[in-house]
């Protein structure tokens, strides 16, 4: 991959095009996320439950929406041929899609994760929850990277739907799993934030895997034999 060959203005144009295509929907997701945070901040058991559930739904929906609109729909509605007939290389296309997704998913993701952190720290919710929340966000990010990679590399709609749903649903066993680790759960109900070794290890694994998948996807994409 010759990184120097990336046509930056062209990439910017493609990203702007994708952003224009779904800015309205993204605003709606951020709005729904805010409502979820409001529930969460209420610090009553029922509203905490509703809030965290809604927050997860919004995050997963934003992830799936961003991937399917920018990649799967492009392929299905046959606009991919149109984009690839423009003066872009497969690498330009990949970088544009990656950057576009980082923005379209990244914006709600960052807004909502920052919001969650703020809600945990500023409301009567125990601050120890923070580590747990960060790990959940880490999982969503990893699941997103996997879905994105598969959407770029695999054309089958069935596989894409499967991977998207499966990776996101896996948040459930993941929650149960970290619930079994005393180093993480011990401080859950307290106001002390303890970044234990297992928590750090999981977080590092999530970050490494996400990055690795993104790089691998780019490598696979530039070796594809058809782009339509």
């Amino acid at each position: 991959m010759n990184v120097g060959a990336i046509d930056i203005p062209m990439v910017r144009l493609l990203v702007a095009k994708d952003w224009k295509l779904f800015e309205k929907q993204l605003a709606a997701y951020v709005l729904a996320g805010m409502v979820a945070l409001a529930f969460l901040g209420n610090a009553k058991p029922w509203s905490f439950y509703v809030g965290s559930l809604l927050l997860l739904i919004v995050l997963v929906a934003a992830a799936c929406f961003s991937i399917s609109t920018s990649l799967l729909v492009e392929r299905k509605e046959q606009t991919l041929g149109f984009v690839m007939s423009l003066p872009v290389s497969p690498l330009d296309f990949y970088v544009a899609k990656l950057a576009g997704n980082l923005i379209t998913f990244g914006v709600p993701f960052v807004v909502l994760s920052a919001g969650t952190v703020a809600v945990i720290l500023l409301t009567p919710l125990p601050d120890g929850l923070l580590v747990f929340a960060v790990l959940v966000f880490g999982h969503v990010l990893l699941a997103y990277s996997v879905s994105l990679g598969v959407a770029m590399a695999v054309e089958s709609e069935g596989w894409n739907t499967f991977v998207m749903i499966a990776s996101m649903v896996l948040v459930n066993p993941f929650l149960m799993g970290i619930g079994q680790i005393p180093a993480i759960t011990d401080h859950l109900q307290t106001d002390t934030i303890v970044l234990s070794a297992p928590a750090l290890a999981i977080l590092a694994a999530q970050a490494l895997l996400s990055t690795g998948i993104v790089v691998l996807t780019g490598w696979v994409h530039c070796r594809k034999k058809s782009f339509y």
Binding site: K17, L21, G81, F82, M84, P87, S226, F227
Partner: protein, 294 residues
């Protein structure tokens, strides 16, 4: 001589289809019509020329540059419209025009407006509401208005009503004016290609069965109606592509006609009644049926 494109030893294998070996080139300034039935490999060839698909083997050069290595530079001067290419449904034609205008410095807004009027398209309408004909014309408008040096059109007239078809051919005829601009367009219908093409290439089952200047096709092929009782074996010459009989009438389709044939037929017991030029369609069908070698 400069070539708009040239492919050498090109092959591409799919599970149920094999394209190649293809050797084909188009001199700059010419219009080539690619004729073939559905599934002949027209779309695959066009996709390879645009870099949308990569060949398994062979050299591909477009506008003098190697593909897919130089595809970005090539695509700056390339127009491509295919039957299965769609625009963004929720966006207006104007949005697409603005997008293209930002990408191609050669975008000619005045010409775009003229085409908009001639094609009877509404720029402020969402593309999703366009009919098939309007969609084809919109894609063509986006391509023609940036004045590409090579225009690749996959079945541009398929499924168009006669009025839209005439409009499309009219717009394409304007490209003829410029000797540096070339067009390769495919169709399963020879009529659409016949009018404007300088060269015709017949593609069948992934192979080129004939590629000639159009006028040569029309010059060389003749349908001869004769009378006589001679058996077909008597005229089993390489230039006779097809023969059929009805009573004493015999019809021959000949791929390299010359006046000597009359005498040879007469010597063989067949009196020539009339000699007719053949349409490209007839030439194409005959060529395909006889398995190539026009």
């Amino acid at each position: 001589m400069n070539f708009a494109f040239s492919v050498q030893g090109l092959t591409k294998r799919y599970p149920h289809f094999h394209l190649g070996d293809l050797d084909l080139r188009l001199p700059e300034g010419q219009i080539m019509g690619l004729v073939g039935v559905n599934g002949a490999g027209k779309t695959t060839l066009l996709r390879i020329l645009t870099g949308l698909a990569l060949p398994d083997r062979g050299q591909v050069e477009v506008l003098g540059l190697p593909m897919p290595g130089q595809q970005v530079a090539v695509k700056r001067d390339l127009g491509f419209a295919s039957e299965d290419m769609r625009l963004y449904r929720s966006r207006t034609l104007r949005w697409h025009m603005d997008l293209i205008a930002r990408i191609y410095p050669g975008w000619d807004e005045a010409y775009a407006s003229e085409l908009l009027r001639r094609f009877d398209l509404r720029a402020d309408q969402a593309v999703g509401g366009f009919s098939h004909g309007q969609r084809v014309k919109a894609l063509l408008l986006l391509n023609l208005s940036r004045r590409p040096r090579l225009l690749l059109l996959d079945e541009p007239t398929t499924g168009l009503d006669p009025v839209a078809r005439a409009e499309v051919l009219e717009a394409l005829a304007e490209v003829l004016r410029d000797e540096q601009r070339s067009v390769l367009f495919s169709s399963h219908n020879t009529h659409d290609i016949e009018q404007l093409a300088d060269t015709i290439t017949f593609l069948h089952q992934g192979r080129i069965v004939a590629s000639e200047e159009k006028e040569r096709f029309l010059d060389l092929w003749r349908r001869i109606v004769c009378q006589g009782d001679a058996a077909f074996e008597q005229v089993d010459w390489p230039e006779v592509a097809a023969a059929r009989r009805s009573g004493s009438l015999v019809e021959l389709k000949v791929r390299r006609f010359d006046d000597g044939i009359r005498e040879r037929l007469a010597a063989g017991g067949l009196a020539v009644q009339s000699v007719h030029p053949m349409s490209l369609e007839d030439i194409f069908v005959t060529t395909v049926r006889t398995g190539g070698a026009a």
